[in-house]
Symmetry: C2
Subunit: 324 residues, 2 copies
DNA sequence: CTGTTAGCGCTTTCAT
DNA sequence: ATGAAAGCGCTAACAG
């Protein structure tokens, strides 16, 4: 800016006034300064601007497990939209399910003075981390409540969605229903498992624990687990998969299997309607999830200090008959 | 920091030395200061640090069309990984195909003094924008060369991939092959169309322009176009779809159609192997694309000022027989 | 209307 | 080993 001022033969304050559309500047000096600015391609340093007291960075952080997962990227999309509407910028970091990585990322975000953070929490006790960072920036959690604290969180009706899906399988005449699940260290999984159990209770049936297999992190492992289930002495006639990667694995297993099994799964799958295997999917609006979380965060940034809020988004079951 | 210094009874410079692991500080003062820092939960302001001469923000920008698209999110994943390895932070913005939005986003990134930018360029002449911003930060373009300038770009073998896919359809006995395409304003599309034409030339066949439909932006519109093609007087027996959204639309149309048509498409689709319609897909490693682009950018940030480089990543055709 | 000055949070000489 | 002071790029009084 110094440079611009010199080139235009004015003081830095005049340049600053021009930049901020300040009124107290003569029309011709303004023009002259603007000319120099565009000739030089000068862009003011927002970091320096933000250093002034009372200023914010106009940036929020999104700390998420893995951007490539369709669930995450839909959330990111909703967040990005809301962020743009609020004229903020979005800083993104991925945790790869590591609490340590997540903590370091969040600290780094704070060092950069983001106005707030949206976090898909890793497994682990958040009480110390939250206490350390909450003085710096409000946080809203996504998809699951962080363990150890009471904080804003926007999530899905995991239990209800799973329950409805499993009930659908019962309604289709199944009663030996397998369960292929992801990480159990995270609330999402346990809520979905709880929905599965509830559906059994609703039917007055008892759960056969040998039909439940957990802690799979990718489609490959889910598929192996499903194959094993189907090869057992008394195999399930239907399987519930606890998230999209599990569904992919289970569907592959079902597709390769001689047995005609039905599948239900949490999370939507593109092209589900064109699959050869019948599948019922628990769907929801993930973009909206991101948007809602961002809106809540912005309201916190704006000063809303009401009690921590928990927003649960509804799910709905979509049944695809399959080509069989 | 002032606050910490006062609480510890030392000067700000001492605190600064402790923070930067400075050598010239007595062990017990260091301990005392560290204690105060952790009690107060103090986090140094990186923006202020970055203000010092010669400092960088250790952040790069990713300006992309739409984060939710699986192609984009795979790229973002690769970029994020590389960024993390280089101990930088990633700022993300979406352009929604608007050149104006892209320009404003890039300017904002520069105002925040990112060290470099990764850009999936919107349609439009980039010469002025590039000239304006290149003095501030190196840029590497992703997926398509920006119009009007010679710049670093990492992209796919669009022409070769499309050509191979269409040849596959010829090899399967088709010769009336439709084309359902996305935006023509962007090089990607025209390269793919050129590959399609080339495949016809390879066969000594001429292209029937009535089988080509372009400028669809979502699956819905692609599907309508495919339905129309199939309903025409002399319909195609196979269709090539020029990106993942087009493929989804075309596959839906194919699935609903009485006719048994084959489909080929650019971009991978999850679960393609389980579809009821036979489909051949042009696949590639999108995560690697992101990673390679980020690595190139970091090398530019590191001072590499060689000629603009164009990196073309190979594609490969995966044939899914379908359940028909 | 415009220039001078102080100060945002930090690092880095330069003294002590 | 520590503190005082200058300066990074900018804005906001405060003068003129």
């Amino acid at each position: 800016m110094h440079h611009v001022a010199k080139a235009a033969g004015v003081s830095v304050s005049t340049v600053s006034r021009v930049l901020s559309n300040g009124k107290y500047v003569r029309e011709d000096t303004k023009l002259k300064v603007q000319k120099v600015i565009s000739e030089l391609g000068f862009q003011p340093n927002r970091l320096a601007q933000g250093l002034r007291p009372g200023q914010t960075t106009a940036a929020i952080a999104l700390v998420i497990e893995d951007i490539a997962n369709p669930f995450s990227s839909a959330i990111a999309h909703g967040v990005e939209e809301a962020t743009r509407q609020h004229k903020h910028l979005l800083v993104v970091g991925a945790t790869e399910r590591s609490f340590e990585l997540q903590s370091e990322l969040m600290r780094e975000m704070v060092r950069r003075r983001v106005d707030g953070m949206l976090v898909m929490p890793a497994a682990g006790d958040h009480s110390a981390l939250h206490a350390e960072l909450i003085q710096w920036a409000p946080m809203v959690f996504i998809d699951r409540p962080p363990r150890g604290i009471d904080a804003d969180v926007v999530l899905l009706d995991n239990r209800g969605g799973a329950r409805q899906a499993v009930r659908h399988l019962f309604d289709s005449g199944h009663h030996r229903i397998g369960y292929v699940g992801g990480a159990t260290s995270v609330p999402t999984g346990s809520r979905r498992l709880s929905g599965y159990r509830q559906a059994f209770k609703d039917q007055g049936r008892t759960v056969d624990p040998t039909l439940i297999t957990l802690d799979h992190h990718d489609a490959e492992s889910a598929r192996d687990a499903a194959v094993a289930l189907l090869a057992s002495a008394s195999p399930p006639t239907a399987i519930f998969a606890d998230n999209n990667r599990m569904s992919v694995g289970v569907l592959k297993a079902a597709h390769e299997s001689e047995q005609a099994i039905d599948v239900a799964g949490f999370d939507d799958l593109e092209l589900a309607e064109l699959l050869s295997v019948p599948v019922a999917l628990v769907t929801y609006d993930a973009v909206d999830l991101g948007r809602r979380a961002a809106e809540l965060l912005f309201s916190r940034i704006g000063g809303d200090s009401a009690q921590p809020r928990r927003i649960t988004l509804p799910t709905s079951l979509v049944v695809h008959p399959g080509m069989r």
